[in-house]
């Protein structure tokens, strides 16, 4: 569960965003799961699995505060204390269906690995990725290599202007996989796509289901994002 992984590379890929590759012990990792990463700070930081190639895991992360700043300063050869993979993932059994992947900002990373794994299964996907501005766009080429990819920017400096909900309205698909900020999740959870999955980012304590920090209201109770999620069917949670 806990691993001491070695940093292979760590460099900027967009304004304030980094890509880090680490070599892990066990690479049987479901897309949508996350690692709980020890930084210089007390609490661990949850980071989604953005890709897995052999025994190399990729994290894509935005520099937000002290924890991610500390990560950004790690160099190849440094050792990182991580817990994981944790949580459930996106359900990949979608044969014959068309899946739309909707990501916003730091919600984009898990969708890349998810798309790769869906592509392996021959499932058709379309991706809508929302960013603030041109300089913050990352992984566009990688996504394009896997199928139709629509970029939106809030300020209109690149791709379509506005939010991901714009293009989403015109997409035909059977299933929606989504990850991003809460307002975006709220919007897409209410969209016309029949089967909708959201991956939720809540502040965490333990990351393994023991502390009730990360709970999300659910019809008739609550769910723990770290251990019951982070991926839920839209109906399962009250956003």
């Amino acid at each position: 569960m806990r691993q001491f992984v070695t940093v292979l590379s760590n460099h900027p890929i967009a304004k304030g965003a980094m890509e880090m590759k680490v070599s892990v012990e066990n690479s049987v990792i479901a897309p949508g799961t996350f690692f709980h990463v020890k930084t210089s700070e007390l609490l661990r930081r949850p980071l989604s699995v953005a890709n897995v190639e052999g025994d190399v895991v990729t994290f894509l992360y935005k520099i937000i505060g002290k924890g991610t700043q500390d990560l950004a300063e790690r160099r190849p050869g440094d050792v990182l204390d991580v817990l994981g993979p944790l949580g459930n993932g996106f359900p990949l059994e979608q044969t014959g269906k068309r899946v739309v992947l909707v990501g916003g900002g730091i919600g984009v990373p898990p969708l890349y690995y998810t798309r790769r794994r869906l592509a392996d299964r021959g499932i058709e996907t379309v991706a809508i990725l929302g960013f603030d501005t041109k300089e913050s766009v990352f992984y566009e080429e990688a996504f394009c290599a896997l199928g139709e990819t629509i970029i939106t920017t809030v300020d209109g400096s690149y791709g379509e202007a506005g939010f991901v909900t714009g293009p989403l309205a015109r997409i035909e698909a059977d299933v929606l996989f989504s990850c991003g900020p809460e307002p975006m999740l709220k919007a897409v959870a209410a969209s016309h796509i029949e089967e909708r999955y959201v991956s939720i980012e809540n502040r965490m304590g333990c990351g393994i289901g023991a502390c009730f920090a990360c709970v999300c209201e659910a019809p008739g109770g609550y769910v723990k994002v770290c251990s019951d999620g982070p991926v839920f069917r839209a109906e399962e949670v009250t956003l």
């Binding site: 569960m1 806990r2 020890k38 700070e41 007390l42 609490l43 661990r44 204390d81 817990l83 809540n202 502040r203 965490m204 304590g205 333990c206 990351g207 393994i208 289901g209 023991a210 502390c211 009730f212 920090a213 990360c214 709970v215 999300c216 209201e217 109770g221 609550y222 251990s227």
Partner: protein
């Protein structure tokens, strides 16, 4: 045997146990290591009925600490007895049930319910939770109310009662003496300090509950000071906690006067921390030339007394 500690109701194979609220009911950690290696487990607070707790965000990080306002989320005493204790009973470790409530009647009900189960070896009376609107901390900041509640719970419980003290008081020794006089079998301390963080980009408190309980290494100096003070004025044993993360932190609490130590927040930083501390203890005792861990209990004030 050099780690064995015998306390009212508890035969601890070592003095290390996870603190209440930081280990759930053990299910998650049981996947990581064998819980039978723990001296004991202080399980998450139980209330009369199930509670959802506070809105999120419920945690915020601070410098070497964290704030939490979970708000006593739990499935209720009955459900804990039926759904959680059977699993815990499969481990060879001492279970301490944390008892909470909003009214004296609720405390009494929970104490009765939890102490009736044979898996529970002792109660921890939580009069110090800062994160609930009624009940909780006001019982823990007034010696008269604390004593009264201790008396009621003691009468209702078939097991020894440890009272968990709040550090948010002017005189921790007065609180300790009051609950000792009211019949407490032991003291656990400290619960969290009340704190707050504000997000300067929005101008609002980070926690939905606004205030929360501060835990972690940041509060250890306060906890050590309070254990040190209380150990000198009561005759009942103390289970110390607050910021423990290393084997030396454990020894610091024992030197200050604690007989056992609980580990809270550090379980989030490193879920193997209790196991690691237990494994490191004999080696560290060797290094320091200590035979039995309790040989140094309270030595920090005894040495001072003889020094002057």
């Amino acid at each position: 045997m050099r780690l064995h500690v015998s306390l009212p109701g508890l035969q601890l194979k070592n003095p290390i146990m996870p603190a209440s609220g930081c280990f759930g009911f053990g299910e998650e950690f049981a996947k990581l290591y064998d819980l039978s290696m723990l001296g004991g487990i202080m399980i998450k607070a139980a209330t009369g009925e199930s509670r959802f707790g506070n809105a999120t965000p419920r945690v915020a990080e601070t410098a070497e600490g964290m704030l939490n306002a979970i708000g006593l989320q739990n499935p209720g005493a009955k459900a804990i007895v039926s759904d959680k204790l059977p699993f815990l009973s499969t481990f060879d470790t001492e279970i301490i049930a944390n008892v909470a409530g909003s009214t004296p009647e609720e405390y009494v009900y929970v104490a009765e319910t939890m102490s009736a189960d044979p898996t529970v070896k002792a109660l921890e009376l939580n009069i110090s939770c800062p994160n609930v609107k009624c009940g909780g901390m006001q019982f823990g900041t007034d010696p008269v109310m604390a004593a009264e509640l201790t008396r009621l719970v003691k009468a209702a419980s078939s097991k020894p009662v440890y009272v968990k003290l709040s550090p948010n008081v002017t005189s921790i020794t007065n609180m300790a003496k009051a609950v000792e006089a009211a019949g407490a079998d032991g003291i656990t301390m400290i619960n969290t300090l009340v704190g707050m963080r504000i997000d300067v980009t929005t101008g609002t408190p980070i926690l939905a509950n606004r205030i929360g309980g501060l835990s972690g290494p940041a509060i250890k100096p306060v906890a050590i000071r309070m254990v040190y003070e209380v150990a000198q004025v009561v005759d009942i044993p103390i289970i110390g906690m607050g910021g423990v993360r290393t084997v030396d932190d454990v020894l610091e609490f024992i030197y200050a006067g604690a007989s056992a130590v609980a580990v809270g927040t550090a379980n989030f930083e490193n879920p193997y921390v209790c196991q690691e501390i237990i494994e490191a203890l004999p080696h560290r005792l060797d290094e320091l030339g200590i035979d039995h861990i309790l040989d140094v209990r309270g030595k920090a004030y005894e040495q001072i007394v003889s020094r002057t």
